[in-house]
Structure formats: structure tokens, C-alpha cells
Symmetry: C2
Subunit: 289 residues, 2 copies
């Protein structure tokens, strides 16, 4: 019963990094992929790259699909056009790939009976039709956020099969827990990292060492500043769509930074070393994936 979706084409809406990577992996498994994109030029290039079997700018391309993955940016996902909604097969399982889940569920659980919120946690710095690559999801978490008593069990099972077919690790939790967790480990850190770049630039300027800070920055700075120097649209979208959890995470963050700062200010070196030793012990727990 749950494997029914495999007998029909899989629909993908949007062939950027996530949609395109998914198309490549599913096609390699012998599944038929029918994709809807926004622009004719994208459709052409997606076909050249083999991201899907059929690519069209006409929502009718989704007809006959047993499972449709909405691989859209969050803002477009949260304001779906009527013609997309009209083209989603009523019996198909619908899922998304958005990195914030509570607002997606609020929007979509009223729009389609067989909607399942999910979030494959995979990515690169790339975006667009050139970004998709094979094996992107292998070994990465794919989190579903079913609504109790509302999400249909067989729809959830189908999304799980899809995730596992591309090698992802299936996880399931409440949407609010997901959103708070990603605020802490992904969305808030973008701001923490961005502030570091600004502080180095502004502080360097103020200290008459604007050139020097640039010359002396090493791999440690490169790592710490990587996500802060990433895609600004994406960073803004995360903060916008997960605003409350990001603000709560920032409160938590400021609290921790202030505690470390006061250890430095009051010259409590053994206590600072103990705190840093605790961080050293903590970090491997976050690197299991």
C-alpha cells in the first residue's frame, strides 16, 4: 500500500539544489520524474542536465504523479499560487523541503489533505538549476514533522520511503521542536557568524588595522565566518520564517557569550578554561552526522 507512489511518476516543483539533486537520485533508481519550473530556460537546462524526465512550466506536468515534492524557497512555499494548488493531484502525497516547519504546516495542512511536512537537511553553497548533484542526501537527516491525528500514516510512510530511497536518515519530531532546533544549530549561527565578519571589519578599521586583520585572518576565521558570508537571501528567509525561535536562540546565545565575557573581565582563568574544556567535550556530540 505505501509503496504505491513508486508505481507512478514523482513530481518535483522547483529544480534548484534540493529539487535537482532529488531528481537525479530518483531517476537513477528508475523512477520517472516530472518537474514543474518557473522559467522556460530553466526547463531546457534541467532536461540537458537530466534532472527530470519531463520538465515544464505548465502545472499540468504534475498530472498522474503519486507523490509531489515542493522544492521551493520558503517564501514561495508559504504563498503558493492558485494554479499550483489546482494542479496538485488530490490523491497524491505532497511534501515540502522547507527548513522551517511550523509556518509551512499552518499554511499547507489546510491546503491539501495528504500533505506531510518534511525537511531534508542537506545542502551546499550552490543554488539554481546547476546546483543539483547526485548523492546529496546520503547519510544526511531527513526530518518529518507529522501533525498528530491529522497527517495520514500512509502519506507519512511514503515520504519516509522516498527519503530512504535517496539514502537519507529518517527522523520524526514536532514542528515546533524542529524549528527551535534548527534556529539553534543553523539559523541563529548565521547571525553569530555574520556579526563576526562585521566586527572584524569595523574593529579593524577602528583600530587602524583594517589591512592587518585581513592579512592575518587564518583558517580558523575562515571556518567561523563561512555561514555568515553565505547566501544573504537564504539567511534572511530563515530569520523571517523562523523569527521567534531565532530570537529565542539569540537570547540564549547572548547569555552564554556574556558569561564567557565576564570570566575574561574578572580574570577567572581556571573557570574560563573549564568552560572551554566543556565546549571541547560538547562539540563531538554535534558531529555524529
Amino acid at each position: 500500500m505505501t509503496t504505491e507512489w513508486r508505481e507512478r511518476p514523482v513530481g518535483i516543483v522547483g529544480l534548484g539544489l534540493i529539487g535537482g539533486s532529488l531528481g537525479l537520485d530518483l531517476r537513477q533508481q528508475g523512477l520517472r520524474v516530472q518537474a514543474l519550473v518557473h522559467r522556460a530556460a530553466t526547463a531546457e537546462r534541467a532536461l540537458e542536465r537530466g534532472l527530470a524526465d519531463t520538465v515544464s512550466t505548465d502545472p499540468a506536468v504534475l498530472q498522474g504523479c503519486g507523490l509531489v515534492v515542493l522544492a521551493l524557497p520558503l517564501d514561495r512555499l508559504l504563498e503558493p499560487p492558485a494554479e499550483l494548488l489546482g494542479a496538485l493531484p488530490a490523491e497524491a502525497v505532497i511534501t515540502d523541503v522547507g527548513s522551517v516547519k511550523a509556518p509551512v504546516l499552518r499554511c499547507w495542512s489546510g491546503l491539501h489533505r495528504r500533505f506531510v511536512g518534511s525537511h531534508p537537511m542537506a545542502g551546499t553553497a550552490q543554488a539554481g538549476v546547476e546546483a543539483g548533484l547526485q548523492g546529496l542526501f546520503r547519510g544526511r537527516p531527513w526530518v518529518a514533522t507529522p501533525l498528530e491525528g491529522r497527517t495520514e500514516p500512509d502519506a507519512l510512510a511514503a515520504v519516509r520511503e522516498l527519503a530512504e530511497a535517496v539514502g537519507a536518515q529518517w527522523l520524526s519530531c514536532e514542528a515546533e521542536a524542529h524549528d527551535r532546533a534548527v534556529a539553534l544549530i543553523s539559523h541563529m549561527p548565521v547571525l553569530v557568524s555574520a556579526a563576526l565578519l562585521q566586527a572584524a571589519a569595523q574593529g579593524g578599521e577602528a583600530a587602524g588595522a583594517a589591512q592587518l586583520v585581513r592579512q592575518l585572518a587564518s583558517s580558523g576565521f575562515a571556518d567561523t565566518s563561512r555561514i555568515g558570508g553565505g547566501n544573504p537571501e537564504l539567511g534572511t528567509l530563515m530569520a523571517r520564517c523562523n523569527r521567534e525561535a531565532v530570537l529565542a536562540a539569540l537570547v540564549q546565545y547572548r547569555h552564554q557569550l556574556s558569561a564567557l565575557e565576564s570570566l575574561v573581565r574578572s580574570e577567572q582563568w581556571p573557570a574560563l578554561e573549564a568552560a572551554l574544556a566543556n565546549c571541547q567535550a560538547l562539540r563531538p556530540e554535534f558531529l555524529q552526522g
Copy 2:
């Protein structure tokens, strides 16, 4: 005249990551390296690894050296034992590798006439006698902080030749400018990164998502938390020896983070996107090295 140091053995005090790597590189250039270490077991292992031609726990091993590199941790560098001071040849050029320069100059410029403060900016996560590796300094900055009217020009030139002999990029600046710059791009970021680990752990706990934050942390979190999860003794030593500059850098940092936070709080999304776009443009300027 300045190449005179090459005609005599080079002394290295301490054969950890920096001292050991230097020994390997200098020996490969056909220079004779005589090293002083703290423990007999270290001396034995250093000889096995070929880090120096002679290794001893007796400061007399430095006799006859034309240039001596003090490759000691900052705390030991700032409290040099009398027997070390007594063993430094009066005519030799002396330099250090400490990552904070003003306190080193305050301490050492009164201790040896031919002292030159310097800081090779290279490293790995390793420490100890097993850590030294060939080519560590190649293409990395080696910063000298001469005191005007005090540092002897030929001593400075000798240290420059040493740095360039191992492939480093020579830079020269004032000690205070150096210390402010490394606070901004290296020492303060350790605390910023450590606070992130603590916030993720504590925030996860508070949100009932302790396990989830660990499962969902991805490569972005791994990068941003890397230096915060590093050697706690080193992080503490940096904060202790560069305390004022680190505190000033933290003030600058908090200011920048608060500004980003208030954009989120007041939902100024175009302004947030512009700030993140600025960060995206800034970062490559810090990756020239």
C-alpha cells in the same frame, strides 16, 4: 652581515607544533638545529622524529647558536626561568613565536639586547612533540613587531631571513596593532564560537530538544563551532595574555550582533538582507592568505 646567523647552529627552545615544524624545515635547508626541551622523554622522541640535530634538557645546548627561537607557550615565555636566560648567547638574535606581542615585548626587551618579537601565524589542532610537520609556515604570515629605536636592524633582518627561509610571508607592524588584530580575527572568535556550542547545548535542553540539536547539526555548525571546541588551555592563554584587546573586540562584536538582532526583532528584512550581503562581500577579503 645579516646572513651571519646561518653560519652557526639555530637554537630552538621547545619542540611542540611550532618549534618542531621549524626544526624540520631548517634541517632540510642544511642548517644545524640545537634544541632545548623540558623532559628527557621529549628529547628522545624529538631526535627519533628528526626535529633537531641535538636535543637536550640542559640549557647549555644553546651555546654557540647565532639565532635562538623561543617556541614556548605564552605563559612560560612570559616567565622565563633564570637558567634559560643565563644560557642565551649574548650576541645571538633571540625571537619568539607568541601569538600576543605587547606583553612579550614588555617582558623580553629588557631581558636580551637582541630580542625581536615575532609571530608565525601557522598551526594545526595538534600539539606536542608529535605535532611538528614540514612546510607548516609555507605561504603563511610571519609577523614581526619591532620596537622603533630599540630593535636592532640586523637582528630584525636575521629573523626575516629565517621566516623567509621556511617560506613564510614577512609582515611588520606595531605590537599593539598586532594584538588588536589577532584579538578580532583569532582570540575573540574562540569565545564567539564557544558560546555557540554552549547555546546549542543549553538551548536544546531548554527546548526539550537536546538530542535533536545534536542530530540536526550539519557542516555549517561544525565549521562555526570548530575553534570554540579547540584546545581550552590555548584559548584561555590567549584571553589572559591579550585580555584588553579581547574585551574591546567583544564590545565591538556585541554591538554588531545586537544590530543584526534588532533588524530581526523589528522585521526589517531588506535591511537584514543588505547587511548579510555586505558580509558576503566582506568575507573574501579575509581569505587572501
